[in-house]
Amino acid sequence: MSGPALDVRGLRIEAIGGVEIVDEISFAVNRGEVFGLVGESGSGKTSTALALLGHARRGTRIAAGTVEVDGLNLLTLPPAARRQVRGARITYVPQDATAGLNPRHRIGRQVEEVLVAHGQPRSAVGSLIAQVHLPSDPQFLRRYPFELSGGQQQRVAIAMALSCHPLVVVLDEPTTGLDASTQARILSLLRDLGSQTGAAFVYVSHDLAVVNDLAHRVGVMYAGRLVEVGGREGVFGRPGHPYTSLLLASVPRLSEPRALTGISGAAPPPGHRPRGCAFAPRCPAVIARCREQSPVEVANGDHVARCWRAWEYAPGAGGEGSAPRAAVDSGALLAADGVSASYRHPGRRFQVLWDVSFSVRAGGCLAVVGESGSGKTTLGRCVAGLHQPDGGTLTLAGRTLARRVANRTAAERREIQIVFQDPDRSLNPRQPIREAIGRPLRFFGYARGGVAEQRQMAELLERVRLPPGMLDRYPRELSGGEKQRVAIARALAARPSLLVCDEITSSLDVSIQAAIVAVLEGLRRDGLALLFITHNVALVRGIADLVLVLERGTVREYGDAAAVFGRPAHPYTQQLIASVPDLRLGAGTKGMGRIEAHRRQSDHRDRVADSAC
């Protein structure tokens, strides 16, 4: 019974045709241990997670390596035996619990099904459900998945994964789609379950703060390789690989506002990975050898880094407390007074904003934070004139703004520009970048083609740190971060005084997010005011000077950023801040007590929301 619960050696997954997706993946997880597998999109972490169950996605195959669960190699088992191991000894919790539950079956029955399939008694349903802190009364078990909140669904999925007392549980981004406070509750549950069940957890995530919060050991993936493996303190405290160091510097921290560095460029997709070290093109510590030879593992105790210059690189400290202040305080640029808004759905009206007031000064940055459904996006749309508020007034530099954008003057439309969340939807797929940026230039009369327009377009790209060669590309040829920069450049082309940023980094990887935030900070220094809408409280810490906290359409707190984050007055703000996992070492259980205190309240809220459906 000794030896690790899960032992992976030399795992290689290829696309049919031989293109490498991941290679040389080796790590082991002990009983009762949480192993965090972190990586940005395209790093191969989900392919790896599925391979742990002996599964390869369509179009891919596991080409080499072993995956041993308690000494039994899954990859050489015949399919029937492998199925018996899956779900019993090693189980999987997918990212999207909604997709994992059958919408037509009551949840009690679905949990029962797993038990029956593996020869367990049906009666265990109640205790399983209770184990994930859900009510185990028959009434709850008779509910359908759609009658549960996202967090509750994820709990049911976890209960199903635990039903046969597995040795290994693989969780693939189980909290990614959830609110911060729901996420915090799931994480605290997982922490409890880890010590209670003695199972080994493999926690796959792109979120370093969450992994820091939860894991004992951490593996960092980049471009299909495990570039660093070690204990949590080691990897986060003294990273050996430059990628890990830079990734850590990209993560916004609630505890210490500072400039985010970000990593230039983008990770190479499978089939386009360079010879030598795949990180070499983006690495600040690159030497000639990195481009020639694949690096080998360098060990420092049980902490291993795959780098020719392991533990040699330390990134320059990010600028301390750099939230830039505008030089002159020139009074309110945009002021909202008692704004309320609603959505009409055939026959019904849903109020989403109640009596919201705030002001943004020229060159200032107001962060609007809140969970999903708090009305923050609607607020941004009201400011941009894309949604008509029901009441209240918006004034721009003292003049009242019309509610509809069509009734605003050209100057007013020019002054307020908006950048949206989803970069795939914000650029016309049929227009080259030249057209996306050139049109507002011509529309507002700044250019009429020719050399002047060329020069201005190149300048705009430069302001968002894109090369001028981008102009003739189409959106589909750009990465998510590049598209978002183009969207910012397009907004800047109008020469606005206020930029409404609606969750503009939430679909991006953390290193890309940091680079975008750096761009925005540069723009602020040039005097642009920002209305920064986000659910990510930590991200706001570094750039905002004012914060507006929204909960269900109502302002809970409004004031100076340092004051709101330093001494949150409203319980909701306190909860919001407490539920943000922080990267600081030892921050693991910070604020969990407070979360427990709010749990009952929030669970009650979940239930109210459920019954409203």
């Binding site: 499978p270 089939g271 439309r413 307020i416 795939d424 939807r425």
Partner: protein, 298 residues
């Protein structure tokens, strides 16, 4: 990560050729698409090259009526003793051209209407949909027959009548797609900038309708082909003595039991054409049934 793959690979191809050409290549790459393209290509080649290959004049009387197929007359002769093969070879061009013209006109009117209604929304939208629905309630053939009875039969009126029948269908389809595209943020950005509806339709919407157009084109064309041939069968299209596949069927139906070839061959050719167009359309639709955002590039 398989989608990531497809993206990077397609992105590379994209640099060297426009999306429409890429799409065409990938459609012809499928089995159904290839078969469809072959059938349509063969029938169109026959229709357009046929007149140059005909051994006799399509209107010259060369033998006794309803003569059986022979060495001299591969399809025999028709009710008036004209060479069946020559009439067959000459009879496809007007059908192809008329149906194509009708389809083109339907798009030229229907796409701007649908896009405008979709972007504008509100009363304009409700009105456009209501009028379309009203027109869709009238049977196509009856509508065109009444129109032709009122203004007199001619080929151009046939094309206009069929276009009028198709316009509400085109409007409804492209309105629906426009509503989907108009919800995308780049359209909102254009609205927030203060662009006119016409400018939004032309610059932001229409370029995103091309791929849907390719998938829809086959359906429209097939419907037009069937209508044009029905009308010429009824004697309202191409006037005798000119050769026409639909007309050939009606002219010679009294001799169906004596000399069936003169009816079966043009009828079957029309069937092969519509079948091929459907195969091709199906391949397009499969290829495109993913997302508008990617512009049909999966």
């Amino acid at each position: 990560m398989s989608s990531l793959f497809a993206l990077s690979r397609d992105a590379e191809v994209a640099r060297s050729q426009p999306a429409a050409l890429m799409l065409l290549r990938s459609v012809v790459g499928t089995r159904g698409g290839r078969a469809g393209a072959l059938l349509v290509g063969a029938v169109l080649a026959l229709a357009f090259l046929g007149p140059f290959l005909a051994p006799f004049s399509p209107t010259a009387i060369v033998d006794t009526p309803f003569a059986q197929p022979s060495k001299a007359h591969a399809l025999g002769t028709d009710a008036l003793g004209r060479d069946g093969l020559s009439r067959f070879l000459c009879g496809g061009r007007t059908l192809a051209l008329t149906s194509f013209a009708a389809t083109l006109m339907a798009y030229l009117a229907g796409i701007p209407l649908g896009a405008f209604a979709g972007v504008r929304g509100g009363v304009v939208d409700i009105g456009a949909v209501a009028v379309s629905d009203l027109m869709l309630a009238i049977p196509s053939l009856v509508f065109v027959l009444v129109l032709l009875a009122a203004v007199g039969p001619s080929l151009s009126m046939v094309a206009i009548g069929i276009a009028a029948v198709e316009v509400p269908r085109v409007t409804r389809i492209f309105r629906a797609i426009t509503v989907e595209v108009a919800a995308l943020e780049f359209v909102e950005v254009a609205m927030a900038r203060g662009e006119t509806t016409a400018s939004i339709v032309v610059r932001e919407i229409v370029p995103n309708l091309w791929t849907a157009l390719m998938a829809d084109f086959g359906f429209r064309l097939t419907a037009s082909i069937v209508l044009v041939s029905s009308l010429s069968y009824l004697g309202l299209g191409q006037a005798p003595p000119a050769a026409d596949w639909g007309l050939m069927v009606s002219e010679n139906q009294i001799g169906l039991t004596i000399q069936p070839w003169i009816i079966v061959v043009p009828g079957a050719t029309i069937a092969v054409l519509t079948f091929g167009v459907n195969l091709l359309t199906d391949a397009f639709a499969r290829r495109l049934g993913r997302s508008i955002v990617s512009g049909g590039v999966p």
